[in-house]
Symmetry: C2
Subunit: 435 residues, 2 copies
């Protein structure tokens, strides 16, 4: 039931690749094998790297993976973590080794990257529309019997495109399809249970497709009115269950199980509870959650959502997901008493929800990192951050500032190589991303 | 006087590299050599690629390069285009072949990438502070007599770090240094002419450094009050000239010429005019502009600034810089009459200044692209854009939408491979970026 082959050649090659001078975060003068990094005695706190550097805390990543594994087990669900968050083969591998049932992806190119690095079970959480994308997917299904993929549809046009290309490229396989249910003023997905049911009938009638389940995405509602958000989340979840029951009664599902999937990183607790409430179906229900950001959490947006989640739950949530991703920058300029410029810009950290948040500062060779609560990043340019701080603050050129980010997806995509570190910020290795 | 060696091995290897399945924009099922792409008969309008796809229009890039070459020639200036905009070796090469005096870079890792691909004259438009970064730079200067680099300082701490590392690593060379003049509430740079002059004396007194010139960056002021912005720009430029004159009178400059540099993409006309007004100096003045975004311009922020620039000038600006970068997406979903979801998200196009702007739509196989003025992108998620359009609009799933972006720097960094196209959107090749 593993979603991956054992470490494949591509993943091994990544581990053994040469990192070249110019690799962000590493001040290399000559190429270094990625597998040899851990042996170089590097430490982020020493000030001997190139800054900014993005680091993943090993112990926190391990904690989050274990916590989520336990959560989905308690919930009677499976995890298909969204791979678009990290697009990192090593992290996919770690997630699969911890029992992830599949990796979720957003696009066919992302799916091809996951496949290259050994992922063999994927949930494409979108309706693929470009014929060449569908053809690429169908070709993988044709050429590799061990490869499994589920895709979404939200329209007749989508059904027809899939049917046409599967017929042409891989007529010996049927493609498992989930009908996506959306919500008014939402994103993709059929509007309303009746229209979704009609589409489910089209899928069931398409010879090269198979109605494998129902899908929705409740994570869009994260605004200022939290009560209203939760009501919309619960309404969508109720509709997903209703649609599933209708399709089941009508015997539209085909396959050994019914796949029911939703769940981003904001409300996976609510999704799990709603899914658990559906107890009667003609065949076993496979409940699949898709959180991507659980892996690293953050110090901003998702941290806040997870604090809320804790208020909804018992002790098992108390030591829940923790922020694992930090970006360390160096003070580059102190041109005015209340201003420091950091080597940290839009190329290095998320800025789509909040700007990075200073966590602590550190003077290499001078004790341990110290808190930096009294400062804030007011602005970022492409390559600079403006840190406002009290005029008397001792922060000087060459000091380090650790920042926490808000929204992992838009930080991972800025780092082809991220360093992994132990609790003392010793470099234990590196992971790669493919955006 | 060329800033690059002829096409080096790394650049040639890039041209011959295999593009793998998973390359965004190309729906590859098997690896394809980058050099062979042009022979595949691909056309963006055919709908046979994977969308989104980022494209550079060859003719427009060539026009912009030629226009800027002529502009700096008329202005008696040199161009060191900011490489951080594109971080593309092929575009660096094209800029150098068109006479760019150097490539400007923001960080030492960027500088190392430019070096890897053959750039041999660089302006590091920042004060390097991480000792390992300075060491890497000094090692290049030690190991390659053909390599030239200028760097900025804005503080004694910066001067000391440079002096210390040059002494240790490359004692046979002196590092040419520009004092950076800033402005109150600005970014980096010494505040005030007097303090900058004092720092220039420190540079002149540092045995392993050489005061080569003066630098400033006027591109920060791009707010709502355009008159106030221009006043601040002009004030900084006046101070740059004053500082240059003072340092020259004091005989602080060392070298055959005095390098005077400023100029982003918003006000390079004003910078050129101010620099031209400085006619008397003890040695020849080398006026260096650093615009990066001129190469592609855009359909948003820089387009607006260039319209303003045209109002300040004569006919030579009338056919000035044109937008060369477009991102084409596909309609993935039409869930409500007034809403289309495009395969275009924060992973694909700038969102830091404006969201992408729809330019036209096209139904593959059905005539030519048609205007789409009545639609707008209201929101983007990581992988989706919400296109609002009139309810009766015929746009359907599988149609293409071309979008223009606002701020090239934050679109280039989302594309490891961009396709180049001719005026009929036939794919002529690809370029690479290294972020």
């Amino acid at each position: 039931m593993s979603a991956a082959a054992p470490m494949n050649d591509a993943l091994r090659a990544l581990h053994e690749q040469w990192l070249l001078p110019g690799t962000k975060g590493l001040a290399l003068q000559t190429p270094v094998r990625q597998s040899a990094l851990a042996g170089h005695g590097l430490n982020v706190l020493d000030g001997r790297l190139s800054y900014p550097v993005a680091v993943l805390r090993d112990s926190t990543v391990a904690h989050n993976i274990a916590w989520m594994r336990d959560f989905v087990a308690r919930a009677g669900a499976l995890l298909a973590p969204h791979g678009k968050t990290t697009m990192s083969p090593q992290l996919f591998q770690a997630q699969i080794e911890a029992g992830a049932w599949a990796i979720t992806l957003a696009t066919v190119p992302q799916l091809q990257i996951a496949y290259r690095f050994g992922v063999r079970r994927v949930l494409l959480a979108n309706q693929p529309v470009a014929l060449a994308d569908i053809e690429s997917l169908a070709a993988l299904l044709r050429d590799d019997p061990a490869f499994e993929a589920w895709v979404l549809v939200d329209s007749s046009a989508g059904v027809q495109r899939l049917q046409q290309m599967m017929q042409r490229i891989a007529p010996q396989r049927r493609l498992p399809v989930l009908v996506e249910l959306g919500a008014p003023q939402g994103r993709t997905g059929v509007r309303g249970v009746d229209a979704a049911r009609a589409l489910a009938r089209e899928v069931a009638a398409a010879p090269r497709l198979r109605l494998a389940g129902i899908e929705g995405y409740e994570g869009l509602w994260v605004g200022a009115d939290r009560e209203a958000d939760l009501q919309r989340v619960d309404a969508l979840l109720a509709q997903l269950l209703e649609l599933t029951r209708h399709c089941d009664e009508e015997r539209l599902f085909d396959g050994e199980e019914i796949l029911l999937s939703a769940g981003g990183s904001a409300y996976f607790d609510r999704v799990a509870a709603a899914f658990a409430s559906l107890r009667h179906s003609s065949r076993p229900l496979r409940r699949v959650l898709r959180s991507g950001c659980y892996l690293t959490s953050d110090h901003g947006f998702y941290h806040g959502l997870q604090q809320e989640m804790r208020t909804r739950h018992d002790a098992s949530f108390r030591h829940g997901l923790q922020p694992a991703l930090e970006v360390w920058a160096m003070v580059q300029s102190r041109p005015e008493p209340g201003l420091a410029l950091l080597t940290l810009g839009k190329r290095d950290a998320s800025y789509d929800i909040d700007l990075p948040r200073p966590l602590c500062w550190h003077r290499p060779g001078d004790g341990a990192p110290r808190p930096l609560r009294e400062a804030r990043i007011a602005k970022m340019n492409d390559q600079h951050a403006y840190l406002e701080l009290p005029p008397e603050h001792p922060l000087q050129i060459g000091d380090l500032v650790a920042t926490g980010i808000s929204h992992p997806c838009t930080t991972f995509d800025k780092w082809p190589v991220l360093l992994t570190v132990d609790d003392g910020y010793r470099v234990t290795g590196a992971i790669n991303t493919f955006f």
